[in-house]
């Protein structure tokens, strides 16, 4: 039991923690969420255990309705299959569950992102002779086009938020309007990017991600300095509500559980 005297003070959080907490808040109600590994999974599990207990988690490993009570170190962890409502094959999860349009929200990380929410998780540098070879596409290309909407979450840096991607692994929003209308038939694509500095939301008018909320203590200039394109700042720029004690206690509970399970 965590005693009251040990509860964190409102300022006692890391930049990774606020990123997770703010990402978690994007999940609400009875959303069905397709969860990637790492921060997306942490945020989705946090959402389920705090404000959004009715969110359904679907993992590409085939686990539908998993109810993990700790942070799985991988998306193929036994805690996911053992707590799932149903476990299906990997081909089935991509055909009958993802491609069919049954998923409300996709939750993705990225190595690079651009102002249209295009994602690179393939290479840094030239494809045939990369300076850094990244893991590759995984589920991302079809998650971005098949889910009702997509939440992207990654740490903010000029290396990650680039004017031009080295490689387009997944398309967020097309520049071409006809192509964009075509993709909208099956889902609205990335709608929000949550970082350790801020929240950016996709605006149909400008057709790009605009800065809509700064985390406490972060200045506009901090975001501009870490973003490789000229960021549009929303007229209605907000300050992000800091992580509540409840959110932080829940999040740290997982993380400890995760460490303990090792």
């Amino acid at each position: 039991m965590t005693e009251v005297s040990q509860l964190p003070t409102p300022l006692d959080w890391t930049s990774d923690e606020i990123m997770t907490v703010v990402a978690a808040r994007e999940l609400t109600g009875e959303m069905v969420c397709f969860v990637g590994i790492g921060l997306p999974s942490r945020a989705a599990i946090l959402a389920r255990s705090t404000h959004a207990p009715d969110v359904t988690l679907v993992y590409e490993s085939g686990c539908i309705g998993a109810k993990p009570d700790r942070l799985p170190p991988s998306i193929g962890d036994g805690v996911l299959s053992r707590t799932a409502d149903a476990v299906v094959s990997v081909p089935e999860i991509f055909s009958y569950w993802l491609q069919s349009g049954r998923i409300d929200v996709g939750f993705l990380g990225a190595a690079q992102v651009d102002k249209r929410g295009n994602i690179n998780t393939t290479v840094v540098g030239d494809y045939d002779r990369p300076s850094v070879r990244l893991p590759g596409a995984g589920g991302a290309p079809e998650i971005t086009t098949s889910c009702g909407q997509v939440i992207i979450t990654l740490r903010h840096s000029a290396r990650a938020f680039v004017e031009k991607l080295d490689f387009v692994t997944s398309v967020g929003h097309f520049e071409d309007e006809a192509l964009e209308r075509q993709r909208e038939k099956h889902g609205h694509g990335p709608q929000v990017i949550v970082t350790d500095l801020c929240v950016m939301r996709y605006q149909r008018e400008s057709r790009e991600f605009e800065l809509t909320s700064l985390h406490p203590g972060v200045q506009i200039e901090d975001v501009l300095a870490q973003t490789g394109w000229p960021v549009i700042v929303s007229d209605d720029l907000q300050e992000t509500a800091p992580p509540s004690n409840e959110e932080l206690v829940a999040l740290r509970g997982f993380t400890e559980g995760d460490q303990a399970s090792r």
Binding site: S74, G76, F94, Y127, A137, V168, L179
Partner: protein
């Protein structure tokens, strides 16, 4: 013809040849580590490896020079870091160049399904606007003859041999797996030959939710290897050695460290039992 029960050494010798296209499938759960190690010990060369999620065992096969080409959709050590031997091969052609053919998960899944179904291609709504579709000769476009919609087409795979882990075999050589079963059924049904590593042979299968049974006649060899997926896991038999996955980053980053580790734990162990003993001692010592 029903599956024969072989030792792992026999099965690899008989069914995995130089130059083969090999799928050692598994999705975090039930990774056939023991088979990968035996392939390394028997020094197979010029393999084309297929897998949706190549992980540490593929990193090891690549680093040990067994692999000519990799067909995959996500090559990483999930939640723990990179596959440095894979990266070294792609980035620096070390120990030699690695040809790659990459897809998305949905594309690879469609390829496996098409192959298991005896079709020359699979169809998916995917890849639109991606650089992968621009670069890859294995992604083409097809028009729905009813609606006119354009969809992606991917070719079936030509797999010589698939190796998977399952929890149990029965006396007749049927095998059963449960928990996360990934694309393993499709891998077996897609391959010309197949080998299944099991934890044990039982008189009768006990029912399991999501239990997947492959009949004996779809398998060439059943190999009893307790803990054959270690350091991956086998639901209801073993736990994943998450520590080892975290340590791989440090082991694999440096060529010499990698070589030393492989020598100690794989080349100088003569079978999976010895490997498990060797790695368990090593994991315990790092905890101290």
């Amino acid at each position: 013809m029903n599956a024969r029960e072989l030792t792992l050494c026999e099965a690899v010798a008989e069914f995995v040849h130089d130059g083969d296209t090999v799928a050692l499938e598994g999705f975090t759960h039930l990774i056939p580590f023991a088979a990968g190690h035996e392939i390394i010990r028997q020094e197979r060369r010029d393999l084309t490896l297929v897998r949706m999620t190549p992980d540490i065992i593929y990193d090891q096969l690549i680093g040990m020079g067994c692999v000519k080409k990799l067909i995959f959709s996500w090559a990483g050590n999930p939640g723990a870091g990179s596959l440095h031997r894979f990266r070294d091969a792609v980035e620096n052609s070390y120990p030699h160049p690695l040809e790659i053919e990459e897809h998305s998960h949905a594309g690879m899944a469609a390829r496996y399904q098409a192959t298991a179904s005896g079709l020359p291609f699979g169809v998916l709504r995917g890849y639109a606007g991606t650089d992968l579709s621009r670069l890859s000769p294995t992604i083409r476009w097809i028009t729905c003859p009813f609606t006119g919609e354009e969809l992606a087409a991917v070719p079936s795979l030509s797999i010589d041999v698939s190796v998977i882990c399952a929890q149990q075999a029965d006396r007749r050589g049927n095998v059963m797996m449960w928990g996360i079963t990934g694309v393993q059924k499709e891998a077996v049904l897609s391959a010309t030959r197949s080998v299944v590593l099991v934890e044990e042979v039982v008189e009768e299968f006990t029912p399991h939710v999501n239990g997947v049974v492959l009949p004996s006649w779809t398998i060439d060899a059943v190999v009893v290897v307790p803990g054959g997926s270690f350091p991956s896991y086998s639901e209801d038999y073993s736990e994943r050695a998450n520590d080892f996955y975290a340590q791989w980053e440090g082991i694999s980053r440096d060529r010499a460290t990698f070589d030393a580790w492989m020598t100690t734990h794989v080349l100088e162990t003569k079978n999976h039992e010895e490997f498990m003993a060797s790695l368990t001692v090593s994991l315990a010592s790092r905890h101290d």
